[in-house]
Symmetry: C2
Amino acid sequence: MQIMSEHTLGSSHVPLRDLVTDEIRRRILTGALPPGDRLVEDRLAEDLGVSRNPVREAIRVLATEGLVEVAPRRGAAVARPRPAHAEELFEVRVALEGLAARLAARRADDAALARLRAVLDEQRAADQVGAVADLNTRFHTEVAAASGNDHLHQMVGPLLHRAQWVFLQTAYTRAGDSLSEHEKLFAAIAAGDEESAYALAVAHVAAARRSYLAHVESLAD
Amino acid sequence: MQIMSEHTLGSSHVPLRDLVTDEIRRRILTGALPPGDRLVEDRLAEDLGVSRNPVREAIRVLATEGLVEVAPRRGAAVARPRPAHAEELFEVRVALEGLAARLAARRADDAALARLRAVLDEQRAADQVGAVADLNTRFHTEVAAASGNDHLHQMVGPLLHRAQWVFLQTAYTRAGDSLSEHEKLFAAIAAGDEESAYALAVAHVAAARRSYLAHVESLAD
DNA sequence: TGTCGGGATCCTGTATACAGAAGTCGCTGT
DNA sequence: ACAGCGACTTCTGTATACAGGATCCCGACA
């Protein structure tokens, strides 16, 4: 009656619903599905070559992640961020990513540090504009993972996805400062320096916020 | 092609999947479904008098909320909190609820204050032990709502549910101090005193943590 | 007695079917 | 020309069907 922890052959099998969830999320995050676009189950299902069932389950998940809005008997649509949403995202990110950096400095093990380093390596090598946002999100996600706090990690993922997506709406991508700030943050985490890690993470988010606000101002012209 | 905002007749209709989600969540939060219990779709569906489809969608939602764990081809089970989970919850709650209280003091409008006051009134009147945990959760949720930050509100709900559920596993309910602390926090929010609200919220979570740890210690005897 | 197959059974993953609400569009009457 | 009305179409909500993996039980064999 209890569920067990052993690996079976099929436990590596990825259900269609997960592939579908990832693919729809990817389309939203890349702008292939712009805000307001309706997610018609039939069309998506045929498009992806699956039945409606996995699509429906994917939509529920994306709705709880905040990327999709559902109206009863009207269906789902890609969420529309309000202008204030970006600012609100920064408010939450400061709190959570500051905490994540502090805890990562306190508790990151070798494996976690290796994953962080790997993302940084990729980021250094990345030229493609599209990949930059993804790698940025992955770095911050890995910091949350390195914090060893499951709840934090679980919350930060969707939060960063929403951030990446809101920024996309204003055709915003952060300048190259991001990489050097990431490297400093990594160094502080690797050194176990909690206070520096916290300060650097907070400053990093604050810098991203300023950069974003400046970008939005420039759009207003 | 765009989705619109008008009310139609059916927009007040609550889909079965939402009722099912709420009911399963309730059973988990009350302990009717203890950790490790498998969530067999057929059985749940028959039990609730619906088909498997709404049950499946509910399970996906509860999985992203962290109350349920899913293994491919093995099915879903009520999650099992690790002992460290409680401590991790407090870490995150300090960060998020501190922020929520500060923002609520800055931005709460009359409607939000009225809702907070209503919850406090209920809490004052509550004797039943079962309702205490629910009302506590509701108060904190309303503070997050009053912050005016959608992301914060959206994240705090599931977080508090997990907290309520983890505490249930140790048969823990906080003593009556909670109400007076809530009332002080409410007063600070209503007065627009950000610093006091922040400090009170942080102290409140810290007190809850101490109380919880003492309780766990006492169980060890 | 222990353990090693080999079905029987349970359950998930996925697809299909059908009822009814919501949206669309043209027709009719003025 | 245009407003009102009604059939048609589209889509969601929900149920049912079926294939194959995972688990369990039991008997055979060491």
